[in-house]
C-alpha cells in the first residue's frame, strides 16, 4: 500500500502529467467559454418557429414515406425527385431513430442532449492520448533515468513493482477520467440549463451516453496500458511513440495501400483503427470495393460491419499480450 501511495504521489508530481492536466483544463475552459459565448436561451418566438419547422419536416418525411408505399403498390407514378429505397420502411419516420426536433432548427442555441455525445468523444480522445503518453513516459522515464533501479534497491520484487506502477497508473487515470467526465459534462449541462437548452434527456439518452462513456473509459485505460507496455519493452518513452507512428505509417497507411492494389477483400478487418472505431461507436460499417466488382448483376450489398464485441476482443487481446510481454521482460531484464 505504501508503494502504491508513493507511486501515486510520484505520478501526480511528474511535470508531464501536470502539463497534460493543465492542457486538459485549458481545452475544457476554452470549449466552455466559446460554447457559452455562442449560445443564448431561445425566446418564445424562436422556440415556436423551431417547433413548427420541426413539425413541417416530420410531415414531409411522412409524406415521402406515404408516396414510397403508394409507388411500390403501383397506385402512383414516381417522378424524378422521388427517393425509392428497396424497402420503404427505411424512410418511415415512425421507425426512425431520431426524428427532427425543435432543437435542430434553433440557431446559436446550445442543446445539451444534442451535443453531449460529440463532446464526450472529444474528452475520450483527449484522455486516451493523455493515458497513452503518461503511461509511456511514467515507466519510460523511470527506466531511462534509473528511477526503477532506485526503487528496486528498496523493493527488490520486480513483479510487485511492475504491478504497483501499472496499477497506480490505471487507478489514477480512472479517477481522473471520472472526475474530468463529471466536471466536463456537468459544466455543459449547466450551460444548457442557463444559456441554452438541455434538450430531451430520456432514459434512452442517458443509457446511450453512459455506454459511450463506459466504452471510452475502457479505451483510455487500454491506451495507458498499451503505452506503458510498449515503453517497458523499449525501455524508453520514445519507443512507445515511435511504435505508434511506425504502425500508423507502415500498416494503417502503407499496408492499406498494398491491400488496395492487391484487391484484398475487406482490408479494414486487418486494421486496428476499425476495431477502435467499432468499440467506441458500438459498430462500424465498411464497404468492400471488391465484393460487387466481379460478375454480380442486380443489387449487391458490399458492406460489412464490425461490432463492439470484436473491437473489445482485439483491443483487450492486443493490450493483454503486450502487457504480459512487458511483464516477462521486466522480470528478467538486466538493469544496467
Amino acid at each position: 500500500m505504501n508503494l502504491v501511495r508513493a507511486e501515486l504521489e510520484r505520478l501526480a508530481a511528474r511535470r508531464f502529467v501536470q502539463l497534460m492536466v493543465v492542457l486538459l483544463a485549458v481545452a475544457f475552459a476554452v470549449t466552455v467559454v466559446t460554447t457559452l459565448g455562442g449560445s443564448h436561451r431561445p425566446t418564445e418566438v424562436e422556440l415556436s418557429r423551431a417547433q413548427s419547422q420541426a413539425a413541417d419536416e416530420v410531415r414531409r418525411l411522412e409524406l415521402a414515406h406515404d408516396r414510397c408505399l403508394r409507388i411500390k403498390a403501383g397506385t402512383l407514378t414516381p417522378d424524378e425527385n422521388d427517393y425509392l429505397p428497396r424497402d420503404c420502411a427505411q424512410i418511415d419516420p415512425a421507425q426512425s431513430e431520431q426524428l427532427p426536433t425543435a432543437s435542430d432548427y434553433l440557431s446559436g442555441v446550445f442543446v445539451f442532449a444534442k451535443e453531449a455525445k460529440p463532446l464526450l468523444y472529444f474528452l475520450i480522445a483527449f484522455l486516451a492520448l493523455f493515458g497513452f503518453l503518461v503511461g509511456a513516459s511514467y515507466i519510460g522515464a523511470d527506466l531511462n533515468s534509473g528511477g526503477v533501479v532506485n526503487l528496486l534497491l528498496w523493493r527488490p520484487r520486480r513483479p510487485t513493482v511492475f504491478a504497483a506502477k501499472l496499477g497506480t497508473l490505471l487507478g489514477g487515470l480512472l479517477g481522473l477520467s471520472v472526475l474530468a467526465s463529471v466536471a466536463y459534462l456537468g459544466a455543459f449541462w449547466l450551460i444548457g440549463q442557463a444559456s441554452g437548452l438541455t434538450g430531451r434527456m430520456s432514459g434512452e439518452f442517458w443509457a446511450g451516453l453512459g455506454a459511450v462513456w463506459a466504452r471510452g473509459v475502457v479505451l483510455v485505460l487500454l491506451a495507458a496500458a498499451l503505452g506503458f507496455a510498449v515503453a517497458t519493452l523499449g525501455r524508453h518513452t520514445s519507443a512507445a511513440l515511435g511504435t505508434v507512428a511506425a504502425y500508423v505509417v507502415v500498416w494503417e497507411l502503407g499496408a492499406r495501400l498494398v491491400f488496395q492494389i492487391l484487391q484484398v477483400g475487406r482490408p479494414d478487418r486487418f486494421m486496428l483503427s476499425s476495431y477502435l472505431g467499432a468499440w467506441l461507436a458500438g459498430q462500424v460499417r465498411f464497404w468492400d470495393d471488391n465484393a460487387c466488382s466481379t460478375g454480380i448483376s442486380g443489387f449487391c450489398d458490399g458492406s460489412y460491419t464490425v461490432g463492439w464485441p470484436a473491437g473489445l476482443v482485439v483491443l483487450v487481446g492486443l493490450t493483454a499480450a503486450l502487457v504480459a510481454a512487458a511483464f516477462a521482460v521486466f522480470r528478467r531484464r538486466d538493469l544496467i
Binding site: N2, N150, R157
Partner: protein
C-alpha cells in the same frame, strides 16, 4: 565474524547484437564480514559495478551463488532489502523533484518513517538545500543525495559504488568521515572506488578485481605486505662506488640519478653497516613500502607506461608488453 556478503563463482556475460558476447565477471569470489570497511577496486570495465548489480538483483548472473546478510540473492533479497543501503554508480533522480521529496517518496515506498528524511539530509550536508530541485544540484550534491537515499533505511550493510564521484576535496573528506562514523557504529561498508588513497585511508579489507576476476583480497596491510619487496632508497655522496660495494656484499642494487634502490633487505642496518665500514656515510635511508596504488597498478596491468592508451576492458595496449594474466589470483588471507 559472520559473513555479510558472500559471492562464489559469479559469472555474468552480456550479449549484444552489435558487440556479441562479452564476459563481464568470471568465476568471481568475494567475502565481506560484519564490521568491515571493505574496498572494492578494479579498473574501468573490470566488473565491479556488474558484481554489485548482480548482488543487488539488478542483473541476472549466469552462474554463481550470492548471499547478502545470510539471504540468498536475488531470491531472498526482499527479506533483507530493508537492511541494505546501496548506491550503484551515479544514481539519477528526477530533476524536477526536490531532494526532500525524492527521499520522502523512497521512504514511503520502503516503509521507512519519513522523519528520517531530515536526519539523512543533515547527515550528508544537504539540510539547507533539501527543498531545492535536484536539477539545480552539482554532481557532488547529487552524490550526497544518493548517499542520503542509501542511509535512509539505517542499513546494516552499506554498498557504495564510487561515492566520491564529483565531490570536491572537502566533500571527499566529509564522505570519508561519514564512512568512518558509520563503520564505527557497526555498519558494514562495501566501498567501490577509483580513489585508491581513499580506500587505503578508509578500508581495512580490500578485494581487487581485474577483467572480471579477483586478483587479490584480504586485509589491506596484508595485501600490501604481500607486495613488499623490502626496498630501501639510499642516498650517499658517491652513489656509484656505494652501489658497487653493496653489490659485492650480495645485495640487489639499482642505480638512479641521485639515489640507489636496494631490494630484498629486511633489516636496514645491513645497508648502513656495509657502507659505514668503508667510510661511506648514509645521508638518507627510507623504506619503499608499496601503497595500494602501486599494488593495484601491478595487479591490473596499469603500471606499464606505454604510448598507446589502455582500453577500459583491460585489454593490453599491445601484445607482449603488459602481462594481464590474472588467472592465478594472489590471495593474502587475513
Amino acid at each position: 565474524m559472520s559473513a555479510v556478503i558472500e559471492i562464489a563463482g559469479l559469472r555474468k556475460t552480456f550479449r549484444t547484437l552489435r558487440h556479441g558476447r562479452r564476459v563481464a565477471v568470471d568465476d568471481f569470489h568475494m567475502l565481506v564480514e560484519a564490521g568491515q570497511v571493505h574496498g572494492f577496486l578494479g579498473p574501468n570495465g573490470s566488473g565491479k559495478t556488474t558484481t554489485l548489480r548482480a548482488l543487488l538483483g539488478l542483473v541476472r548472473p549466469d552462474a554463481g551463488q550470492m548471499h547478502v546478510l545470510g539471504a540468498r540473492s536475488p531470491e531472498r533479497l526482499p527479506d533483507v532489502a530493508g537492511r541494505v543501503g546501496a548506491i550503484v554508480e551515479s544514481p539519477q533522480f528526477f530533476g524536477n523533484f526536490t531532494a526532500h521529496r525524492t527521499l520522502r517518496l523512497l521512504a514511503l515506498a520502503g516503509g521507512v518513517p519519513t522523519s528520517r528524511v531530515d536526519e539523512v539530509l543533515e547527515q550528508v550536508g544537504l539540510r539547507d538545500r533539501g527543498e531545492e530541485r535536484v536539477k539545480g544540484y552539482s554532481l557532488g550534491m547529487k552524490q550526497r543525495l544518493a548517499v542520503a537515499s542509501a542511509l535512509l533505511k539505517r542499513p546494516e550493510l552499506l554498498i557504495l559504488d564510487e561515492p566520491a564521484n564529483g565531490l570536491d576535496p572537502a566533500g571527499i573528506r566529509e564522505m570519508r568521515d561519514l564512512t568512518r562514523a558509520l563503520a564505527a557504529s557497526g555498519v558494514t561498508v562495501l566501498l567501490s572506488s577509483h580513489i585508491l588513497a581513499e580506500i587505503q585511508l578508509i578500508c581495512d579489507h580490500v578485494t581487487i578485481v581485474s577483467r572480471g576476476r579477483r586478483v587479490a583480497y584480504g586485509r589491506v596491510d596484508e595485501v600490501l605486505a604481500g607486495f613488499d619487496q623490502h626496498q630501501w632508497r639510499v642516498r650517499v655522496a658517491e652513489p656509484e662506488p656505494a652501489a658497487l660495494l653493496l653489490g659485492r656484499a650480495g645485495l640487489s642494487v639499482a642505480g638512479h640519478a641521485d639515489h640507489l634502490v636496494v631490494t630484498g633487505v629486511e633489516d636496514p642496518e645491513v645497508i648502513s653497516r656495509t657502507l659505514g665500514e668503508q667510510g661511506m656515510w648514509v645521508r638518507e635511508l627510507v623504506p619503499l613500502r608499496p601503497d595500494l596504488e602501486s599494488v593495484f597498478l601491478e595487479l591490473t596491468g596499469g603500471d606499464e607506461h606505454v604510448a598507446v592508451p589502455r582500453q577500459v576492458d583491460g585489454a593490453p595496449a599491445y601484445d607482449g608488453v603488459i602481462d594481464l594474466d590474472v588467472r592465478g589470483s594472489r590471495e593474502v588471507d587475513a
